[in-house]
Symmetry: C2
Subunit: 156 residues, 2 copies
Amino acid sequence: MSKPDPTVFFEIFNEVAIIEQLSRTILEARMPDGLIAPHFAVLNHLTRLGDGRTPIEMARAFQVPKTSMTHTLKGLELHNLIDMRPNPEDGRSKRVWLTDKGRQQRAVIIAALGPDLAFLAERFDMKRLKGIKPVLTELRIFLDENRDMVRAAQTT
Amino acid sequence: MSKPDPTVFFEIFNEVAIIEQLSRTILEARMPDGLIAPHFAVLNHLTRLGDGRTPIEMARAFQVPKTSMTHTLKGLELHNLIDMRPNPEDGRSKRVWLTDKGRQQRAVIIAALGPDLAFLAERFDMKRLKGIKPVLTELRIFLDENRDMVRAAQTT
DNA sequence: GCTATATGGTGCGATATCGAACTTTACCGG
DNA sequence: CCGGTAAAGTTCGATATCGCACCATATAGC
């Protein structure tokens, strides 16, 4: 019986990095000037999980340093896509709210992506894609749970 | 019979982005100060495919703008991990060579990652991971082939 | 050959990322 | 209450990313 082969992780991470790069390029090509992938990720997160999240919650969700989140939120606020208001339950923190414009902007971007995704969906075996999704989700959760394996970033 | 559902792409890209973030954090935690993931990607690429590649080849391989590649290579050169010499076959271009230190540095990083990957490999179902690898590779190649779907970045 | 155009690479400016340090508020033990 | 520590958020400085413009060389059409 052979020991587990960690090389598989290495190779998977390699593929994932390239796919991330390519998919991000597709997304950003459909986003308005001045907005990039992290901005969309925030709009999307707030729409799906509900707004009123705190910045630190979102930094943890995306596994980015909290300073990066501050910067991203500042950009969204500048474009009037979100509002940041004090958190009445905790004087240290804030809560992030989508503006109408923010909700609309997300919808517009998703609509703009429609043809691209349809193009891809027509040409790729969607069964196989559906098949790997649960494993990717499992892997994401697993890595997330074990992220303290390495020195924690400043997201805490 | 239903039409293909492009939403799957959306969800997969979302998972991939988070996994990329988490795996990059693991990698960079094991890299020496001043070096980050793209530096390692280049060292790795040159080791596996052989050195003597041109910068533009590598920019295309990683799907990054050529100016980003210039910057990354400059960093590697500064640390004496690569040499860049003129390309005798094309006066416009250069070729990138690994130094001994460069080869060693890659080996050191991989060795440092060993325990982390082993830790993960012991706790995750490697069969399932192996199972999704071919699909990820297929997806990567597919997206790469269709990258001109969107306005090309300055990698050409 | 000569001109036009394409290609490889770099410089530069704008923005993004991120770690360290700091401020403010919360919480905990006494 | 009060001091000590922890947590949320921002500021700041260093580096990364990337589009645009540019230079040098190559290639194609004539």
